[in-house]
Amino acid sequence: MGPIEILFLVLMAVFGVVGVVRGYAQELGVTTMLLLALFILQFIGTEVAKPFDSLLAFVAGPGTAEIGTVRAFVFSGFLILIAFISYQGQTLSFPGRGESVALSLTSGLLNGYLFAGSLWYYLGSANWPYLNVNTNFSDFYKFAWNLLPPKILPWPYLIGLAVFMLIMRVWK
């Protein structure tokens, strides 16, 4: 197992611990926000990829590698911003007291998977720009790559799940 995999597993674990402290009722609000953020990024990355890449070309230049690098930073930065706002801003709490440790840990780990896994995917797709990463990846890296959220979940699934979360939030 290489350093990238360990870093992201530790990051997931940190989210899990944060989930235990905050409670699942609040963590599910963060989950909703992360799903919406991923939907936006996936939609841009698939349905409006060409116009978006043209826009990036104004900043980065016409080269494919440069566009990929800027795209990775834009997507990662947007995801980090949404995560920061979700944790720091007004809490979108779900029904429930959030006292169950198991549920809180699970929801925290889910958020870690969505956040850290997506960062891994976006940066990895651009071949880890400006980071001195050995590209001789381990088998676990290649295995986990196929399980990352942007790799598996297309935008219709993400928006469907986000809408479902919002319904569960308001349903009495």
Binding site: K151, I152, F164
Partner: protein
């Protein structure tokens, strides 16, 4: 180094949970984990047979086996009919995957230990002793899981009395300890890859899993009177 980081991370998670639950709850959880690990040691190579036997039993019940056992003038033929109707039940875990079945049982045992330790009578205020017992629980579970990987890298992770870990002298199955350099993580990945499902099914499984989790968490647990 990576193994030690994973070990420390798992210990930290267990430690935080232990701290929040209190000393008594964490002690009960640690004790339960230790007892279940000792039991797991005694099972050895029977772990995969147990899992496959459970799978057969569940399918037998679902196929109407209980009715066949319980009634009818010719009970033996009814049971045979049920078994014949079930056909060949493929094993969930092969006999060569004893380590995988041990891991599955270990994770279930850890969940059981947490449920027992989380029983209302044991829970108390957050405490430092809870943190300590939680760290011990995390060490036992992760050392048991990561022991073979650590040994391959020259790191010794001692386990408590009565527990020697996967591939230790108490384990009966000869195929448990990977000696050719492929660790447990590699074998887990091979197991998943061998039963690989397409990305659409995986996406649906993840979406349904998240939805089910949200329904369970918001509808079937204690609900507060206020929202947001």
């Amino acid at each position: 180094m990576g193994i030690l980081i994973l070990l420390a991370t798992m210990m930290a998670i267990f430690g935080v949970v232990g701290y929040l639950r209190g000393a008594r709850s964490s002690f009960v959880t640690a004790l339960t984990i230790w007892l279940l690990l000792v039991l797991l040691e005694r099972m050895g190579g029977k772990a995969s047979s147990l899992i496959n036997g459970l799978n057969f039993g569940i399918r037998f019940v679902l196929a109407g086996g209980l009715q066949a056992l319980g009634g009818g003038s010719n009970t033996t033929e009814s049971v045979d009919d049920v078994i014949r109707r079930m056909g060949t039940v493929p094993p969930i875990v092969s006999s060569n995957s004893s380590a995988v079945s041990l891991i599955i049982i270990l994770l279930l045992a850890t969940a059981v230990a947490f449920v027992i330790g989380g029983w209302g009578r044991f829970r108390g205020k957050p405490s430092g002793w809870g943190l300590a017992w939680g760290l011990l629980s995390g060490y036992m579970v992760s050392a048991y899981l990561l022991g073979p990987l650590a040994a391959e890298n020259g790191i010794a992770l001692p386990l408590p009395l009565g527990v020697s870990g996967i591939g230790g002298p108490a384990a009966a199955a000869p195929s448990v300890a990977p000696t050719s350099g492929t660790g447990l993580v590699d074998r887990f990945m091979q197991l998943v890859t061998a039963n690989a499902i397409d990305s659409t099914t995986l996406a649906l499984a993840i979406v349904i899993g998240i939805a089910a989790f949200v329904i369970f968490a918001t509808r079937f647990t204690n609900r507060s009177t206020k929202k947001g």
